[in-house]
Symmetry: none
Subunit: 213 residues, 4 copies
C-alpha cells in the first residue's frame, strides 16, 4: 500500500495522460483522413473508445484539439530547426538545404508512424498528406525562411514573393513525396533545394520592381 510518487504517475494520472494521447492520436488520424471541416468530434472520440463527454475534459472544442496537434509538431520540430539556424549562421544556402532536409524528414516520419499503426489490409479511406502537425512544422520552416530571406543583404527582389515561392515549393514537393513509395526524403530535398536556390539566384536585381515591400 505504500506508494512514493515523485511525479504524478498514479493510476489516475496515467489514465489522464493515456486518454489525452489517445484523443490526439485519433484526432491526427481523423483530420488526416477527412480534413478539418469534414471531421467531427464524434469521429475522433469513437476511435478512442472513450465517451463523447470525455473529449471535453481534455479539449474545449474541435478547434482546440487541432491546435494542440499543431503545437505538438511545433514543439518537437522547433529545437531541430533552431539548431540548424545556429549551425548555418551566415550561410544561407546551407540553411535552406538543411532546413528542407529536416522538414521532409519530419513529415515523412510523421506520415510513416501514423500509417504504420494501422492494422494492414484494414479497409480505410484515402489519407491526406496534411495533418495539423505537418502544417505547423511547415509554418516554422516558412517563418525561418522568411527571416533568412528578408535579413539577407544584397540585391534581391521582393522578399515576400521570394519567401512565398520557396514555401510553396517546399509544401508541394513534400506532398508529392508522401504520395510515392518508397518515400525518398533525400530526393525531395535535393530537388527542392536546387529549385529554390537556382530560382532565387536568377531573380532580377531591382528591389523597385513594383512588388509589395
Amino acid at each position: 500500500m505504500s506508494q512514493v510518487a515523485y511525479l504524478p504517475v498514479g493510476k489516475r494520472e496515467q489514465t489522464k495522460v493515456q486518454n489525452r494521447l489517445a484523443i490526439l492520436d485519433a484526432a491526427r488520424e481523423v483530420f488526416g483522413e477527412l480534413g478539418y471541416e469534414t471531421a467531427t468530434v464524434r469521429d475522433i472520440i469513437r476511435r478512442t473508445g472513450l465517451a463523447a463527454g470525455t473529449f471535453y475534459n481534455y479539449y474545449r472544442s474541435k478547434e482546440e484539439v487541432f491546435a494542440a496537434l499543431a503545437d505538438d509538431g511545433a514543439r518537437r520540430f522547433g529545437p531541430i530547426l533552431k539548431a540548424i539556424r545556429a549551425q548555418c549562421a551566415g550561410d544561407f544556402e546551407a540553411f535552406i538545404r538543411r532546413a528542407l532536409e529536416a522538414y521532409f524528414e519530419f513529415i515523412a516520419d510523421e506520415h510513416q508512424n501514423w500509417t504504420a499503426r494501422r492494422p494492414p489490409d484494414e479497409p480505410h479511406v484515402h489519407i491526406q498528406g496534411e495533418t495539423p502537425e505537418t502544417t505547423a512544422v511547415f509554418n516554422e520552416v516558412r517563418d525561418a525562411m522568411q527571416q533568412a530571406i528578408a535579413g539577407r543583404g544584397g540585391h534581391l527582389s521582393d522578399p515576400v514573393f521570394m519567401a512565398a515561392s520557396c514555401i510553396a515549393v517546399a509544401r508541394e514537393v513534400g506532398e508529392r513525396m508522401l504520395e510515392h513509395r518508397p518515400v525518398d526524403t533525400k530526393g525531395a530535398a535535393d530537388f527542392a533545394t536546387a529549385m529554390i536556390l537556382n530560382g532565387l539566384k536568377g531573380l532580377p536585381k531591382s528591389p523597385e520592381s513594383g512588388a509589395p515591400g
Copy 2:
C-alpha cells in the same frame, strides 16, 4: 409601335438576371471568405436579401453554384490560354512567361471587379484570394504547364515535382500580389517567370535523381 427585343428586357427578366448575379456575387464572396466546406447556402442567400427558397430557383445545390462560378472563370480564360499555347508552340520559356502574365492579370481583374462592387467602408471580414473562378483558371494553367513540362524533350528531373513546384509558385505569388496595393501584375509575372525558369534550369540532370517516377 415597332419594337425589336434582342434581349429579354421586361422587369421580370431584369430581376431574374439581377438575382442570378446577386447570388453569384454573394457565393463568390462567401466561398472566398469561408471556403467551400464552411460556406452554407444560407450564408449566400442571406447576403442577397432573398428568401431561402429562392436560391433553389437558380441553382439546384451549393455544389452547382460553385461549379457555375468555376465554369464562368474557365469559360472566360480558356480561349486566352489556348491562344498563348498556339503562339508559343515550341518556345517553352515564352509560354511560361505569357501564361503567367495572363493568369495574374485574370485574377487581378477578378479580384478588382468583385471588391469594387462592395460599398466602401462596410465592415467585412478579410477575403481570401481564392474563389471558384480563380481556382478554375489556376487549374487550367496547371494543366497546360504540366503538359508543357512533361512534353519537353531533354534531360530534366522528375516532371511531377517540377510541375507541382511551378504551379505552387504561381499560386502563392498570385495570392501575395492581391494582398498589396497597387496590384502589380507585371511585377508578379516577372518574378514568377524568373523564379520558375531559373529554378528549372538549375535542376540536376539525371532523371534518376531519386524523385518518384
Copy 3:
C-alpha cells in the same frame, strides 16, 4: 364579328373550361399514381402545361381539387344509383346486386378512360386503383347499402357491422378486379353479390349480440 352566345362559349370561357378540365384530368392522374399525400400541386400543374399560379385561379388548394374530383364522380354516379334504388324498392337482394354492378362498371370505366388517354409504351409509374372519384362513388354505394340494411325489417344482427362488411367486400373486390386484364365487371359483381348475400343470410339472429347499435 357578330356573335350570339346563349351560353358562355366565348374564347375566354372556353379556355377557362378547358383549363379547369385539364387541371382535373391531371389531378386525377397524379392522385391515382402517387396518392394524395405524395402528390404535389407542382406535379399536377406540370402535367397541364399551365403555370403554377394558374392552379390557384381554379382551386384554392390541393385539398379543394381533390374534393372537386370526388364531387365530379358523385355527380355522375348519383342519378344511376338513385334509379336503381327506385327500381328495386323492397327487393333488397336485387338492390345489392345492381348497385354492385353499377359500382364495378363505374370504376372500370373510370380506370379505362384514364389509362387510355396515356400514349402507349410511355414509361409511367404503377397506378393505384383509387382516385377521388372512385372513392366518392364508393362512398355513395356505402351510404345506400347502410340505409338499405338499416331500414330492412327482420331478424338481422348489427347493421353497422353488416354495412361495414359489405362495403369492405365491394372495395376489395373492386381493387382486385382492376388489377387484372381483361377487367371483368360481371365476374366481380357475381362474386361480391354472392359473398355479401350469403354472408348476410347466415348471420346469427340476435340483434342483442352486444354489438354496437
Copy 4:
C-alpha cells in the same frame, strides 16, 4: 452489500426506457391520427417534450420507428397465430373463427392500453384504429387466411377475391368494434366468422366464374 441486478435500474436507464416508450407511444398516436405520410418526426417528439435531436438517439428515422411499432405487434401476435394454425390443422372453419377472435382481442387490447395512458378529458383529435402494430397483426392474419384459402381442396371460386374479401371484412369489423363502448370482441368475432364462412359457402362452384386467375 451483495447486489444482484437483473435489470439495469439506474436512473439513467430508467429515463432511457421511459423515453423510448414515450417516443413509441407518441409515434403510435401520431401515426394513428395523421397517417404515416402526414406524420412528421417533429410531431412525434413534440408530444414527448423531448428535444428534436433526441428522437435520433432512439430511432434512426421516421421509417425505423414505424417499423419498430409494427415489429412489436408482430412479435407479440406471431406465436399466438402460429399456435392456432397448429391446433386447427385441417379444420378450416375452426381456424378462421379462432384467428378472428385472436385478432380482435389483440387490437382491442392495443387500443385500450394506449387510450388508457392518456390523461382523461384532455382535448385530442379522434384517433384511427390503425397503427403500425395493428396493421402488422392484420397482415399476419391476412397471410394465414390466404394460405388457408388457397390450400383448401375443393370447388371454390377465385382465391384472390376470397382472401381479399375475408380480410376486408375482418379489418372493417375490427375498426367498427373499436369505435363503440364497451368493446365487444366476442360479438365482433361471431359476426365476422359467420359473415365470412357463410359468404364463402354460398359462392358459385365454378372456378371459371370470371374472376381473375
